[in-house]
Subunit: 395 residues, 2 copies
Amino acid sequence: MLLALGTGHVFEILLTLFVMMAAAKVMAEVFERLRQPAVVGEILAGVLIGPSVLAWIRPSELTNTLAEIGIIFLLFAVGLETKPRDILHVGKTAAIVAVLGVVTPFVAGYFVMRAWGGNNVEALFIGAALVATSVGITARVLSSLGLLSLATSRIILGAAVIDDILGLLILAVVSSLAAGQIDYLEIAITAALAVGFTVFVSLVGPPVLNRMTPRVENLRINESLFAFALLLCLGLSVAASFIGVAAIIGAFLAGMALAEATEGNEAMHRQMNGVTEFLVPFFLVNIGMQVQLNVFRDPSTILLTVVITLLAVVTKLVGGGAGAIHLGWRRAAQVGVGMVPRGEVGIVVAQIGLGLAVISDSLFAVVLFMAVATTLIAPPFLKLLFAADSTKANE
Amino acid sequence: MLLALGTGHVFEILLTLFVMMAAAKVMAEVFERLRQPAVVGEILAGVLIGPSVLAWIRPSELTNTLAEIGIIFLLFAVGLETKPRDILHVGKTAAIVAVLGVVTPFVAGYFVMRAWGGNNVEALFIGAALVATSVGITARVLSSLGLLSLATSRIILGAAVIDDILGLLILAVVSSLAAGQIDYLEIAITAALAVGFTVFVSLVGPPVLNRMTPRVENLRINESLFAFALLLCLGLSVAASFIGVAAIIGAFLAGMALAEATEGNEAMHRQMNGVTEFLVPFFLVNIGMQVQLNVFRDPSTILLTVVITLLAVVTKLVGGGAGAIHLGWRRAAQVGVGMVPRGEVGIVVAQIGLGLAVISDSLFAVVLFMAVATTLIAPPFLKLLFAADSTKANE
């Protein structure tokens, strides 16, 4: 009876956090010892404790919320290590990578789904789900290898931002089509807002923040700069989300705008690292928990899953890689593989399709599997392809 | 329409976080400039944005969850700065402070409520609600003054742990009475478990963790010691909660057990500080948001509120202070005031009473007000009473 005395709710929350964190860290250690990326271990930890296998923890309001806050701070942390001019230097290549990396999977996904017998709207949704890159996974791998400052890493990050905006517009068009009509004006406004927001924060943010930071440090409250960074991250994520861009893009831009002003501030970076390391495992484990292995009961669905997953890998690899081919085959492969993970973005697109009742439960499960599988496949190849750079960077 | 495209949920979460954090930090800065404790500003920020005044944010699953995780990490961080032997040194004084600080408000609360015309069970609940100290608030104030290592601070922390166990047992007895019968065996088991857990973790924890820590640091995963600390904090909170002790006691003991092993590890303390600074504002703001100012419509309720709140302050001050009177008046006053805040613990007791339908909505509002008011009153006096120590410590 005593257990029910108000402690029940707290107990459940803390137990969920403990099991997710413990599973993530044990699997990360196992994968590190196998010389595989820790992220793969943490996502597989989610598959393991999730509904498909052990069913210890189910995706819930709590796990989704922690995951969403986690990816926000992950992108903010990545932004903090990225200066706007580094992205501008590779801007042209990033733009080409993004456009080719969006068009190729969308078109291929559409036609393959039509050939499979899907109707027009279904095919459009599958195409849209194949578009968006989950930059968090790649950023996490590159960051743990200490390679975020490489030109190739900048290209991937820049392309991911553009990719996200293009993906947003495709999703808007496809959703309008599913709802019956396209509102061109609204889509044009969204496009203008998204581009305007990104350009504005990238250009105006750094000089403004460089001037503000010393004043913030003079405030009376403890850890004022850290508090300011948290507010900037949350504030720009809210703003981005409000005008229709993904919140993670706002978080990334916030970090990037603050990068110069906080360069060399070891204490503040350590504090932010604590928040990120605490929250990111929930994001990774939560992705793994989404998998529904029961999709593998029906042979025709198995085949479709294999086809869609292969298509997801090949089209991003070819599309993204083609945009960077002038840098040589190895760099092109690095960029291509870096764009492969679909992670939570693919899952969100599939959820929207399910919500609009234009894709079936089994097609939803196919997209889920594709999203998680691409997220698991990419990191080992990334580690391999970047091995030479990693050795050089650590020498 | 685009806003509804899966971004709605994320938007709401991030907006809530942003508004709570921004309000907390602005009010903290204002209060620091008025030379008042920042915690008071952060709690008042909650009153301000909460349902009573602006109604921008209401207490929700999200805010409660963040608050609960926040108080866990706050107590863990305080534990990390507290070595078991420091508490043992002041053990006897702490025990006397705790017992007198529990008996005095309970007895006084019971009789005053009876005199007011309350029935037996109502009076018992009011007594129980006056018992439990919210150590988080005092710890936060002492920590921000850099005074956690003072003997008086140790006495308050030690007494708060014992206080919490006694409060738990009183609550168990009172709840059984409300439910119709007392299960003496179950209460004896709870008492034994609570005491056993506390003693076991305090004695066995430090030597075991001192030996384990170097091995943890040799693990392959990044930031292994930090991950281990997170898991220890969550794990012992879950264990404490499971056997019926408050989760925060588990978190505090976890921190204390790890204190020696991580002493001087600046990087890990910074990371943990980041997590704490990120989460604690949600705990403080959430307390403020609980206030229901509509209690002040009925004159007789206003009078009861004033009486109960005064009683809450005076009984802890006298009871807690009496236990430390041999240290002189100033130390006794420091200890007494340090035990005054009831914060979230008083709120939980009131919620249980409401859940068991033994206290009315208006009596619930009275207890809520008392809990928040004691939490707001104590910090300025603490700051004043500790001013001399603070000057000495910073010289």
